[in-house]
Assembly symmetry: D2
């Protein structure tokens, strides 16, 4: 078929590693992506378990040191699925080795690190992308299109929540996710960063924030019968002012019983509104004030038509897709970016801008004041 | 039937006057309220139009000066449905005349006024109530019961929105509601005050707030072809810390297309969650984490059973009630307060506490800092 | 105001008597109905309880024999809220006495009786109406308007259900509603008749039917410790062919757990679809295939705008109304019919046509064959 | 890993061929299926297009005559994804060749053919399965579990609809799907057969039916400017009596605007109810009458927990799956059947029973009478 292949080396093989592997595997089935990914090797420290993972997920080989991936000529792309604490080091090394990079979010542990990663990537001239997969739900892409076409007019509001509930029980055990040293933050970098990316994508840049990052349960039991201190946020709430004049409310938490993966937003503009909920990810609710007075109401659009973004790649209308397809679509965009030699969005610049907002919220939480998001050109 | 009657005199006869009149009219039909209200007179300045209103709504008489109501022996209760700017004056005079008082929200234009009203009412020893009608939706009462019984455990979160959309068009004409002098505030006192009342009712007192009160459209056309400056908020957003340790996000606006009367909240606790939406006011959504692992989910309860609050007063289960019934239930509670000689809730103390929160948000908006809500004993 | 009054005499004062009384009481409050109803007297056999009901519900007087109502000159309208078995006798006598008649559904126990009632009403030249209140939900009126305007094009399908659940427990006690002699039928005349009325209103006449009327629990306990045989249907299912070429499925039951008053329909036409659910009665869901390909979806319209049927009579948009308002709207139409001297719809002719369908379904259930609905001119 | 492989040969590569191919591809990624499928060859008449399909979907080879697949030793399973008219011939030949068979629904063009297929499969002793994929949605599996555990008690009702809308426009062009000779039937075998399978799975065998199969548009345009007669049903409606005493209504159509893939059911039992909708396939709505009186309501369960059927195979709770996963789950069950040497469900016996119901409905439609479903042992 004349398509070019591109060799992938992935670091890390847990939840995100699974999602990425599956996407590489399925991409050529659904898309005529050129170049198409070839799953060369996955890296992990434990030989037995990385070998098992490689076989189960369809990687041709494995490495026990991620640096080995950088040395291989058959690998063009480094995909970073490790814990946050390792993102920057791997990304910088990969850039210096001339590899294209797909990095899981957040880009780094903090703004300083994120800047260094972006700088390295720019200097190397490689293609880079950050893995905010929710942008690639067809309904979110349709939302973007409607906003860009001016169908909503001037944007006034966004309210975005990302609600989970796995920590609502105060006796749930301690994990590394509750350690600032290992994770950087709690809910904030994990969930709020997704909402920030969606807001930036759809409404534009955030200029200033006022934040609140409570820790509800300050000590949790461990498996050995002792307890550990929690030093990260349990929830992250903030208000935001956007460059375009819109205002936003954001709320992310792991304490909202009954919400397993409640990544949602509502956007209100001069001429219409939009609503989306990841747990019903195929649907976009849309309201237009231009509809006749007695026929106005939110429409529930099943974004599964051929006319919808990515709609012609999967199944007939009404035959819904799921979480994993957001990654397949993302991998396609990454592939297209490599093909045309320009960075897709969101890339490391978006990763840095996201981190600037995260850090401003943290600073606001500490100071009790509104904080301007640092400008970045 | 041996019931006692109680004479009502009402001031003002627009939207709220209509809602109150209807409730007095329907109360004896649905409830065996003792005492039951007798609609003696409505007061308004324009003789023709108050006379017409009196006849249409079922008042026995009318007055063109509200002070006349205070002089009449056949009137036991003054019901204040005027614009906000007049609440305090009428309430204080009514208290001094020894009349029981039902006052529309907000209690006054500011905290200082609200304090004076409460003081006057206390001094007079009359029964007083403030008209936060949404508390009296059966679903909200059920929410209260579940929280009080501990079914949700410790409360972590409330997120409350009150979304309307009648100002989303920047060419919508100017009205007195956009004048600070006449209205005190815009969306803030009008809509956010309802959310504050629901939050105080269900979650408890608010200790501190960080607020943002944007004005999106600063000038609006008038009927005479000129324009007028808008000097009130178009939206009111704030974060709150509660005495109980919970945190909240609040958002009220008149710019959320497609939301006509979107008074909603979600509350998350240690053992469960609740959701309510005024536009589906008969329903309460409830989630319990104690349900078996594979059977957990939000239940949609139609709060129309005999076993539900006020459920035996109206129609068989599933035969829904509407907005106006919140007022009928409220009037019943007011009548019961009079019968037993103690203030129902919410009363003027709640009115003042609400105003303290409103004012703290305004101060926060002005200063860009978190503001402690003034303590009140 | 120059309006004329019209004296009402009502027979029966249980559930329907309560709903009708309330509607008379509220009608002048919401509508400038001319003539407006005056609640003269309610009739019932037990003096104490009818006296109590009269007082509670706001009737000026009462009678212990309904025939007395026919003799009174101050009574212009007889409103029949008795058990079905008495409808025909009272209606015929009322017509012969020259009274206008509002009759609860079904019009009679069977087609033969219904014909006699209609004949008597026609001969007397009085105004008559049958109380299919659900037609008067604003959302249903909007549905009618859209269909009449051709917004749906040719109609292909209606599927109508009326699901209740109060008999799902086989140990629920026996009542007179399970006796054919007293009630005529079970679910069939009680619930299916409402669906038939909505279908006739919206889609037109039904030509033939195939029906199934199961009795799931054939014997039920009584309060005295014995059991009684159930000889009516527990559920009523049928398929229908309409004069316009559409087909329909109908299902009414008292055995559908979780459905308290699930009166619902969906209509599919060449150019669009409609959905309605009584338990969310303010909403109409509407789909138009003329919408752009990527913006098609069911809109949820809150039928509470001024531009909606009856929308200007109640509250601002989004402030929902309930079950009882369907009766207020109906009483208004009845009043208008009297004013202009022509029968409103649905009237006794609709009552007869409804009964013709009911009887055809019963015959089909007995014979196991499709049955043509008898033609009626 | 010590797992055995099993060679697959597939006939046909359109919509169903794509769904099956994807499932084979993904099965080893998600499940430790033993044996796991190896995609050996796909068969189709046109060499170029079958070669292209093989490459795109991941088949090692292809054949231009399906009979060639039967001759190959490296192929253990024949998967039949052809038009209905070819199912029987291929299945019988495959059975005679000793291949296991997975056959798309319906099993054959009619009962007579279906019997022959089942007989051949039994005689050959091969493992067989029919591809009613919707059984394998986790929510449907949970429904099955709840019913089997008696959580709903005795079943009274099922109402099942399968609503699509791609023929609602009378000017939509003619296709072979509207030809009885090629397709056997229209909506009936295509959509109603799925509802029948779900009903049989969840409620049990159907004893008798009364059906109606209208053709709304009898002539359609072709691409060459002429028109063609439609001789299949546009919709299929029927009522059913089940062996267990329950009754059902079924409705399938291609004329229900706004419903792209509306495969839905509601089941009502003595102690509870269930609702499912394919377009929200991750959710099961469940109602229990044993819940406390004031806490009864349908729960919306997201069937994505580890504790749910197949829930541990995919993603964390709330990260939804889609249409294609029903096939992956089905392929796993097929693999397990092969491993243990006994037929999974649904198999060809289910295929035949399904066809018996389909044929009874057709006969009822022709005769206007209730028809007993032929018994089958």
């Amino acid at each position: 078929m004349g398509q070019r292949s591109i060799g992938i080396g992935m670091v890390g093989y847990k939840f995100m590693g699974k999602a990425h592997s599956h996407a590489y595997r399925d991409l050529p089935f659904y898309f005529d992506s050129d170049p198409y990914p070839v799953m060369r090797a996955v890296a992990g420290r434990n030989a037995d378990s990385v070998a098992e993972a490689a076989q189960r997920m369809g990687w041709s080989g494995y490495e026990t040191d991620w640096r080995r991936l950088l040395e291989r000529d058959d690998i063009d792309v480094i995909d970073i699925c490790t814990p946050n604490v390792n993102h920057a080091e791997i990304a910088i090394a990969a850039a210096e080795a001339g590899k294209h990079i797909l990095c899981e979010k957040p880009l780094a542990m903090n703004v300083r690190e994120a800047r260094r990663v972006l700088e390295a990537a720019r200097k190397a001239g490689i293609i880079h992308m950050i893995c905010h997969n929710y942008r690639f739900a067809p309904a979110v892409q349709l939302a973007k299109k409607l906003i860009e076409e001016g169908k909503l007019g001037r944007i006034y509001h966004i309210r975005a929540t990302y609600l989970q509930d796995w920590l609502a029980d105060p006796m749930s055990p301690y994990s590394w996710r509750m350690s600032k040293e290992v994770s950087g933050s709690g809910t904030h970098g994990d969930l709020a960063s997704h909402s920030i990316d969606l807001a930036r994508f759809l409404v534009g840049e955030i200029r200033s924030v006022s934040g609140l990052m409570p820790t509800f349960v300050k000590e949790r039991p461990t498996s050995d019968g002792t307890t550990m201190q929690v030093d990260v946020d349990d929830a992250s709430l903030f208000m935001a002012k956007f460059a375009c004049g819109a205002v936003g409310t954001f709320e992310a938490t792991r304490y909202a019983r009954g919400n397993r993966n409640g990544n949602r937003f509502e956007i209100n503009g001069e001429r219409g509104s939009l609503r989306w909920d990841m747990e019903k990810m195929n649907q976009l609710e849309v309201y237009f004030s231009d509809d006749p007075a007695d026929l106005q109401g939110f429409r529930t659009i099943s974004c599964t038509e051929n006319s919808h973004p990515y709609g012609d790649k999967y199944w007939p209308a009404g035959h819904i897709i799921g979480y994993e397809h957001t990654f397949i679509n993302l991998m396609h965009e990454f592939s297209q970016g490599i093909a045309r030699g320009s960075n897709p969005e969101p890339n490391f610049e978006d990763g840095l801008r996201n981190q600037l907002v995260l850090e401003a919220v943290e600073e606001s939480n500490a100071s009790g004041r509104w904080i301007d998001v640092e400008e970045y050109e």
